[in-house]
């Protein structure tokens, strides 16, 4: 018992920092979601416990369900499908491409990821703008692009998030693929298995654990994306791209209703937890 406690000592600084600065505020926020806490107005003097009233109000608000739906669309589009598939494809391609290509393409992909979020958001805004680069290119080949940010805001932000986040998945899958033992795939090839079969029946199952972890990490990171969407579309037009973090910001800061804002954040956590459970059940990786 004592030995175990002693061994946990290096965990202490982390535990202290996390407890004070993360767990504390999270619990306070969670509690806050059951109050009418506000930045101004009489409730700011002292908030009152109001039970589930915030949540009930959320569930009666059609904007809320639209926001949940948009968040799920954003998640599936840009994280589950977008970044993971793009990352996997890039990983596979990098294996077979030559070194120069690998490093050039890798640089561009990673640059999009390393750029500070607001710069990436601004670059994406300029790219998808009605008079921006994308429409200019389409125009050059004779196509008339729509006003992406206005007519297809979700598509624009999903593509932008894929652009921004794929590097992470690419690196994960590159490493995971490099550990797939070549003798297994080669013997399958000798046995007559085609490329796609090898991929689907051998390679992918072997990197199951990386896929599951990567899905979880990208999902959780994508859930909290705020600046990218805020700068590109502001959540609009109307509420057509207002995912949950944008809605939480609006409630908490524009309307100064903190209780509602934190209730939304709590729901966000629940969505994340649900997705994670699905991944773990579906992929059944062994975790130590």
């Amino acid at each position: 018992m004592l030995r175990s406690a002693g061994r946990a000592v290096p965990l202490l600084p982390a535990l202290i920092l996390l407890a004070i600065f993360l767990v504390g505020p999270v619990l306070a926020s969670f509690y806050g979601s059951f109050t009418d806490s506000a930045l101004t107005g009489s409730a700011a003097q002292g908030s009152h416990f109001i039970g589930f009233a915030n949540y009930i109000q959320l569930f009666q608000n059609p904007d809320f369900f639209k926001s949940v739906w948009l968040t799920i669309v954003f998640l599936i589009g840009s994280a589950v499908i977008g970044q993971n598939v793009a990352g996997l494809v890039l990983g596979l391609l990098m294996e077979r491409g030559d070194r120069v290509m690998r490093s050039i393409v890798g640089t561009f992909v990673v640059t999009a990821w390393v750029l500070p979020e607001i710069v990436a958001a601004f670059a994406a805004y300029a790219f998808f703008h009605d008079k921006g680069t994308l429409n200019e290119i389409l125009g050059a080949v004779g196509l008339h692009g729509p006003n992406w940010l206005y007519s297809l805001p979700m598509l624009a932000v999903i593509l932008a998030n894929i652009w921004r986040g794929t590097a992470f998945s690419m690196l994960v899958y590159t490493a995971a693929l490099s550990e797939v033992p070549t003798d297994v795939t080669e013997s399958a090839q000798i046995d007559g298995a085609g490329g796609w079969q090898r991929l689907g029946l051998i390679t992918l199952p072997l990197i199951r654990r990386s896929i599951s972890t990567n899905l979880m990490l990208t999902t959780l990171q994508t859930l909290s994306v705020f600046t990218l969407i805020f700068v590109m579309t502001g959540g609009g037009p109307g509420t057509n791209s207002s995912t949950l973090p944008i809605l939480a910001y609006q409630q908490a800061f524009k309307f100064s209703e903190l209780g509602l804002g934190t209730a939304i954040a709590t729901i966000l956590l629940v969505v994340g937890a649900l997705f994670s459970i699905v991944y773990l059940r579906a992929l059944k990786p062994e975790v130590d």
């Binding site: 600084p13 101004t40 006003n147």
Partner: protein, 456 residues
């Protein structure tokens, strides 16, 4: 004792020590605001983008104050944030005694909510003994009142709204200059004439949609609504749903956008259309009529963001008419800012002295000129220096007599948001004015509670 357990203890101590040291370091970090000693007062205000006038003004007042009050220092805290973020930052600062400012630059429309929240100190006792107070007329005094009738802020200045128009473009289109529309139809027909005679020029701008926030609600919607028989609230203070005026105002917005008399919806939904209008469209003759605020010319002054030397030769101004020309004939909305006293201030007398100094005649006059504000003090309004400083000043100041104020309750932001949503849906053609008005009614009931709403 084994080497292992000594190391363990050392490690534990080290870990705790690191944490403690960091906290302590934070405490003694320079600039971390401890509780304000009686020797310093903190003055918080907004400084953002082109709006640097308050910063200039406060620096000047600080000099004067410190010269006259040895022993008291002024710490200026310019908050570099736009509208909502400024309110948020200020509210956060107000929540805690150690960061609460002594003097704050407070929007009139938040006074009631902030007074309710206990952030502001009542000023009735102080103004009683202030000789200058007689220079503030009644409606200016009311601007700083809380729900309990006590005074919480003293007005720095206010603003009004009207129609700016390009005299050259009007002449080219054969429209009369000076222009004096008497009804909504007059405004729309002038816009149609421009559209017919001057293709390539946007006839009329009415701010609309969520991205432009309060500009859409106040310069756009409320300038229309308050020109009808209806308003946002009735005399008892309840919110009004289902009024004809509301639907008519939405109808005007729909006409402007669907009949292509205004910017395209995409242009209107750009958060920076305000900058475009004052910086490019108006000076370059791309926009003929702009329903906007009295401060527009601020941009064109030599000290402004888009200096335009002969702006007053090209631009004309007139009042926005009521719907059918009914009394009082014109409509305007007013906002305005005040200086308020923080309730957690540890040196209220010194803070009050600062406010008095900042709002005396010379300082008020100076701020109203550089900030293109409409003065609230009678003596400043009457001062020839004010009317001479800007040709449009006298006109816009004259609109104050028919002006309206927003219902400044803490629910207002949600209602304003619902208005913007309604404007957007008729602007883009997604809903008819009737449907959008109905949606507003539903959102209104949800936002303020059904028992605060009266349906017409």
């Amino acid at each position: 004792m084994t080497q292992g357990s000594i190391m363990k203890r050392f490690a534990t101590a080290a870990a705790l020590g690191i944490a403690a040291a960091l906290v302590l370091a934070g405490c003694s970090a320079p600039g971390s605001t401890g509780s304000s000693s009686s020797g310093t007062i903190k003055v918080a205000y907004q400084k953002f983008g082109n709006f640097t006038q308050m910063d200039t003004q406060m620096k000047e007042v600080k000099k004067q104050f410190e010269a006259a009050n040895k022993g008291v220092k002024v710490q200026l805290i310019p908050i570099q944030a736009a509208e909502n973020d400024y309110y948020t930052k200020l509210a956060l600062m107000n929540k805690a005694a150690s960061t609460a400012p002594d003097v704050l630059y407070e929007d009139t429309f938040l006074i009631k909510a902030d007074a309710d929240a206990g952030y502001l100190a009542p000023l009735d006792g102080y103004v009683k003994d202030w000789s200058d107070w007689s220079q503030f007329p009644d409606n200016a005094r009311q601007a700083g009142q809380g729900d309990d009738g006590k005074l919480y802020g003293v007005s720095l200045g206010t603003d009004t709204r009207g129609l700016w128009y390009n005299k050259d473009l009007f002449a080219k289109a054969g429209l009369p200059v000076p222009w004096e529309p008497k009804t909504w139809d007059d405004v729309l027909s002038a816009a149609r004439t421009i559209k017919a005679k001057l293709p390539g020029v946007t006839p009329l701008n009415v701010y609309s949609g969520k991205p432009n926030g309060e500009a859409s609600t106040m310069q756009g919607f409320e300038m229309l609504l308050y020109g009808t028989q209806d308003q946002l609230t009735d005399d008892s203070g309840k919110w009004v749903a289902g009024s004809k005026g509301f639907t008519d105002a939405l109808g005007f917005v729909k006409t402007v956008y669907q009949d292509k008399l205004g910017p395209t919806p995409q242009q209107a939904l750009d958060t920076n259309i305000g900058n475009l209008i004052s910086g490019q469209w108006l000076p370059k003759g791309k926009l003929a009529i702009d329903l906007d605020g009295s401060w527009q010319s601020q941009n064109w002054l030599p000290s402004g963001a888009a200096p335009w030397p002969d702006w007053d030769k090209t631009m004309g101004w007139t009042a926005m008419p009521t719907q059918t020309g009914q009394a009082p004939g014109s409509v305007s909305m007013s906002g305005g800012w005040t200086l308020a006293l923080g309730s957690k201030s540890k040196n209220k007398p010194a803070a009050w002295n600062f406010i008095k100094l900042a709002l005396n005649k010379e300082n008020s006059l100076n701020f109203d000129i550089i900030g293109t504000q409409i003065p609230v003090r009678d003596d400043v309004a009457a001062d020839p220096k004010y009317s001479e400083s800007n040709p449009s000043n006298a006109f816009f100041a004259g609109l104050v007599k028919n002006t309206h104020f927003r219902p400044a309750t803490s629910d207002y932001p949600k209602v304003s948001n619902a208005i913007q949503v309604a404007m957007e849906s008729v602007m883009t053609g997604q809903q008819t004015p009737d449907k959008a008005a109905k949606a507003y009614d539903d959102a209104l009931k949800q936002a303020v509670g059904a028992d605060h709403v009266v349906t017409k």
